[in-house]
């Protein structure tokens, strides 16, 4: 339904302009209403199924299945989708071109994302997954006149696309060894073995690229060139969660297999730390948020990837919390960007009256992100610490330490974000601030503009104060992932325990980092930043281009003799090997009468002469003689049709040759080197011997009666003609003939245009002429 409306908007929404977002909002609104209506049932444990056969021959069907976890994501996707559409209708200037395209693409993306989170089978999931990649590409590159946007879009597409391919490979490995692609069936009877382990690693690669995990995280900050509504929706709240979703789905089942757990944990932790570290270097509000998202995604991957019930539950909570506060922050940043026309924290800081609302919202969301008590982010972080505090998994101490460090960084970059956005920079406080002048206080935004952000912020606050509200949703989501999860009761106050101590530690250290942010910046400028995925990506793309260039240069030298030689050699070598292994039959009688000898003599003399004469015209005439010799053979063998055609073609061919030859030098001026001559001789000899042996063998090994006998019988009865050859041409093999005459017409038009073209370019015809062999085309036909 989304896809249909989205495509309709793409096609016809040009006139709607800004209002197209409002039209587009209807669709997620409807889906949201539907999901809410069914939410009660699903939370109680129902599962909604829908199935649509797709490619019956391959047993492919589009199975949708909504359980608790899917419901959570459906609610997020449609809810935030709705808010983002409303927000976008305020964000963009009314007259901007291409808005209907943006709205339509957002809708198509929504549809694809819903497909990902509701797909019940791996292949349907893969298709929806790739659709999100493609729509993400189009959305990042929406400002298509900006080369940076195009480059970023391409980077995102290549990274996620490559991951998607790896994932498909993994899906196939897993699906084939399990005998099913159905997610529920896989969870019930998980396959094991090396194949499955390899498949899992491949699937993880796909998930990592999508969720911007460590080696593949470079595309996400780049994707921030997209308009802010897009960033808020795709690149913080929904699409990047697809990888997390997949990991969450598979982890309870596969976490103990192969290198799943060490891989996921290390990648997630490294991502969390490097993302947080790099967020502290940024000056652009959106880029701070982007690296923050990378870091939070690492967090989510760790939580879901472990596969223990407690961690899964914590992951679900964090997933919800993160979607709420990150989308909210993005929307506020969009408001600031829209009003102030800059996102640089060195310039921002002074605001006029009327900004209190957005400020409060941002602070609330930021506090949630930092994990400050009374907000939902705190609840999420508490449960995460709780999950690892009890041990249970090897290395949980290290993981816990990593999580705390990551959370400290999160606190620090949240501080950087909020202080940077809302507190004026004191002169000289930051070493690099000199270049950017502070701006005048921007005008206050309209209430309708920041209302969506406010709604999300309020949710964060309410859920933080009364976490029990989300308990049902969270426990049904966690339960559908892993039946081992106990019913959860989220609470603000868990009592004094290790998690609370850790939270306190996080807050203290984070506050320290914020207070000492000048020192932090100084340290950062000294330390070379960690391995940069961007550089790897650029190097890879450049290397690929260079290799492609070399390969093209090698296989396309532009020399006709080389092309011909390669073609002929291929024709000889490939079937030649098969020939060598087949028995050589007795030679059939070579000549049956004086006529044969005469024809053979004509052929041999003509052929040899054509190779030795140095004048082009003479060579053509020799070839003509060969052709007439062939016609003579046909006559003697009782094939008047062939003979007639052969004579006509040779006659016409000679005329056309003459026409072409007028544009060429009279003689063959090229004198090949010794090597060239030898190569030509060898190739010619090989081709000759090969064709001779091939014909002899082919005639000798026939076991079935030739098809022509059947044709002869059918020609009169079915084709209604006595000339078998012609009946074959126009009736029995009529479809072939149709293709051939089409080729003939296309070739004629091609030759004509080439001749015309080169004549217009004057004398350059000379360089084109050798490429044309128009007279040889009719011979190819018959």
């Amino acid at each position: 339904m989304h896809a249909a409306l989205g495509l309709a908007l793409l096609a016809g929404g040009r006139r709607l302009g800004r209002r197209s977002f409002l039209v587009a909002a209807l669709s997620p609104a409807a889906a949201l209403a539907w999901a809410v209506a069914h939410a009660g049932g699903i939370v109680d444990g129902d599962v909604i199924h829908a199935s649509q056969t797709w490619v019956p021959a391959l047993h492919l069907s589009l199975d949708l299945r909504i359980d608790g976890f899917s419901l959570l994501l459906v609610l997020l996707v449609t809810g935030i989708g709705l808010l983002v559409q409303l927000y976008a209708s305020q964000y963009f200037a009314a007259g901007r071109a291409g808005l209907h395209r943006l709205a339509g693409l957002l809708l198509v993306f929504t549809a694809a994302m819903l497909g990902v989170v509701t797909a019940a089978n791996l292949l349907a999931l893969y298709v929806a997954w790739e659709l999100t990649s493609v729509t993400s590409y189009l959305l990042i590159g929406w400002t298509d006149e900006d080369p940076k946007a195009r480059a970023s879009a391409l980077q995102a597409l290549l990274t996620t696309g490559a991951g998607g391919l790896a994932m498909l490979g993994g899906f196939v490995l897993i699906g084939q060894s399990a005998g099913t692609y159905d997610l529920a069936a896989l969870a019930a009877r998980p396959p094991t073995g090396t194949t499955v382990s390899v498949g899992l690693v491949l699937v993880l690669v796909g998930a990592f690229t999508k969720s911007a995990q460590f080696p593949f995280s470079a595309w996400l900050p780049g994707a921030m060139v997209a308009p802010t509504p897009v960033s808020a929706f795709l690149h913080s709240a929904t699409m990047v969660k697809a990888g997390v979703y997949l990991i969450a789905r598979l982890a309870p089942v596969f976490a103990d297999q192969g290198i799943w757990r060490p891989l996921v944990l290390s990648v997630g932790l490294v991502t969390m730390l490097t993302g947080g570290w790099r967020a502290l270097r940024q000056h652009d509000l959106k880029r701070i948020l982007a690296f923050g998202t990378v870091s939070q995604l690492g967090f989510l991957v760790v939580l879901f990837g472990v596969g223990t019930p407690e961690a899964t539950e914590a992951g679900v909570v964090l997933l919800l919390a993160h979607a709420l506060f990150k989308a909210c922050l993005f929307l506020v940043v969009g408001v600031i960007d829209h009003q102030a026309h800059t996102r640089d924290i060195r310039a921002l800081g002074r605001y006029g009256p009327g900004w209190l609302g957005p400020k409060v919202v941002a602070v609330a969301a930021g506090a949630s992100m930092a994990g400050i008590p009374l907000l939902f982010g705190f609840v999420a972080k508490e449960s995460a610490y709780d999950a690892f505090a009890h041990g249970g998994v090897t290395g949980s101490g290290v993981v816990l330490a990593g999580l705390v460090a990551g959370s400290v960084l999160t606190f620090a970059y949240t501080g950087r974000l909020l202080l940077g956005a809302f507190v004026p920079t004191r002169p000289g406080s930051a070493p690099a601030s000199g270049a950017v002048a502070p701006i005048e206080p921007p005008p206050a935004p309209a209430l309708a503009f920041w209302a969506p952000a406010a709604l999300l912020g309020t949710l964060t606050l309410v859920l933080g104060l009364v976490p029990g509200l989300a308990s049902g949703l969270v426990s049904s989501a966690a339960d559908s992932l892993d039946p081992g999860v106990h019913p959860v009761h989220l609470a603000l106050w868990h009592g004094v325990g290790r998690p609370l101590v850790l939270s306190g530690l996080t807050l203290a250290l984070g506050a320290l980092l914020v207070a000492g942010r000048v020192a932090v910046a100084r340290v950062q400028s000294r330390v070379p930043h960690p391995v940069d995925g961007d550089a790897a990506y650029l190097g890879l793309v450049r290397g690929l281009n260079r290799v492609a260039d070399r390969v093209t240069g090698f296989v396309q030298p532009g020399s006709l003799p080389v092309y011909t030689g390669v073609i002929l050699l291929t024709a000889v070598v490939v079937p030649g090997f098969a020939l060598l292994r087949s028995p050589f039959p007795d030679l059939p009688p070579l000549a049956t009468g004086p006529g044969d000898w005469a024809a053979a003599g004509l052929l041999i003399v003509g052929g040899v002469a054509a190779t030795v004469v140095r004048e082009r015209m003479a060579a053509v005439l020799c070839l003509g003689a060969v052709g007439y010799g062939m016609a003579l053979v046909f006559v003697l063998q009782g094939a008047p049709d062939l003979a007639l055609t052969q004579v006509c073609i040779d006659t016409l061919g000679a005329v056309v040759f003459v026409l072409v030859l007028r544009h060429l030098p009279k003689r063959f001026n090229e004198r090949p080197t010794v090597i060239g001559r030898t190569a030509r001789l060898v190739i010619s000899a090989l081709v000759g011997v090969f064709v001779f042996v091939f014909i002899v063998v082919a005639v000798g090994v026939r076991v079935e009666p030739p098809v022509s006998t059947a044709f002869i019988d059918r020609a009169l009865t079915e084709g209604g003609g006595r000339n078998v050859v012609n009946v074959v041409i126009v009736d029995i093999r009529g479809f072939d003939t149709m293709g051939e005459i089409t080729v003939l017409a296309v070739a004629a038009i091609g030759v004509y245009s080439l001749a015309r073209l080169s004549r217009r370019e004057g004398r350059e015809l000379r360089s084109f002429a050798p490429l044309r062999g128009p007279s040889s085309k009719p011979q190819d036909q018959r």
């Binding site: 049709d641 009529g734 015309r756």
Partner: protein, 153 residues
């Protein structure tokens, strides 16, 4: 323009017979040697003869149609005869045959495969014409072509 009188006269005589021969081959093709392909080639050769005698202008005079048109008609005939049975609920390229009674002139066999064959012939003639036009324009005869081509354009 230097033209050979004998060639001129002979070509005038032979051209129509050659063209007719092509037509004959086309129509007789279903039962005796011939067919659309050969018929088209013979007609094309007749055109080439005109070209040898009088250059491209004479070819135009003999066949005042553009090469595109011939190619198009040919392809349309062939494809049409292939598709029409499909529209009529038969198989692709299924041909119909039967007899028409022409009163005192007797009965004539017909076979819709002929339409297809005519299409083939049209394409072949069109291709020949196209080659002649492509390479032979503005060079009236072959005799002095070697010298002329050096003048360039």
């Amino acid at each position: 323009m230097r033209r050979s009188l004998i060639l001129d006269v002979v070509v005038r005589v032979v051209f129509h017979s050659a063209f007719l021969l092509g037509l004959f081959l086309l129509f007789t093709g279903h039962n005796r040697p011939g067919g659309g392909f050969v018929g088209g080639l013979v007609a094309g050769a007749a055109l080439a003869l005109r070209y040898v005698a009088g250059g491209i202008d004479e070819v135009r005079e003999a066949l005042p149609v553009r090469a595109w048109t011939l190619l198009g008609i040919g392809l349309a005939c062939a494809t049409g005869s292939a598709i029409v049975p499909l529209l009529a609920g038969r198989e692709l390229l299924e041909h119909f045959k039967g007899e028409v009674h022409l009163g005192p002139m007797g009965a004539a066999h017909y076979n819709t495969a002929l339409v297809f064959d005519i299409g083939v012939a049209f394409v072949v003639v069109g291709m020949t014409l196209m080659l002649l036009v492509a390479f032979g324009e503005r060079l009236p005869s072959l005799g002095n072509s070697w010298a002329r081509q050096e003048t360039g354009r």
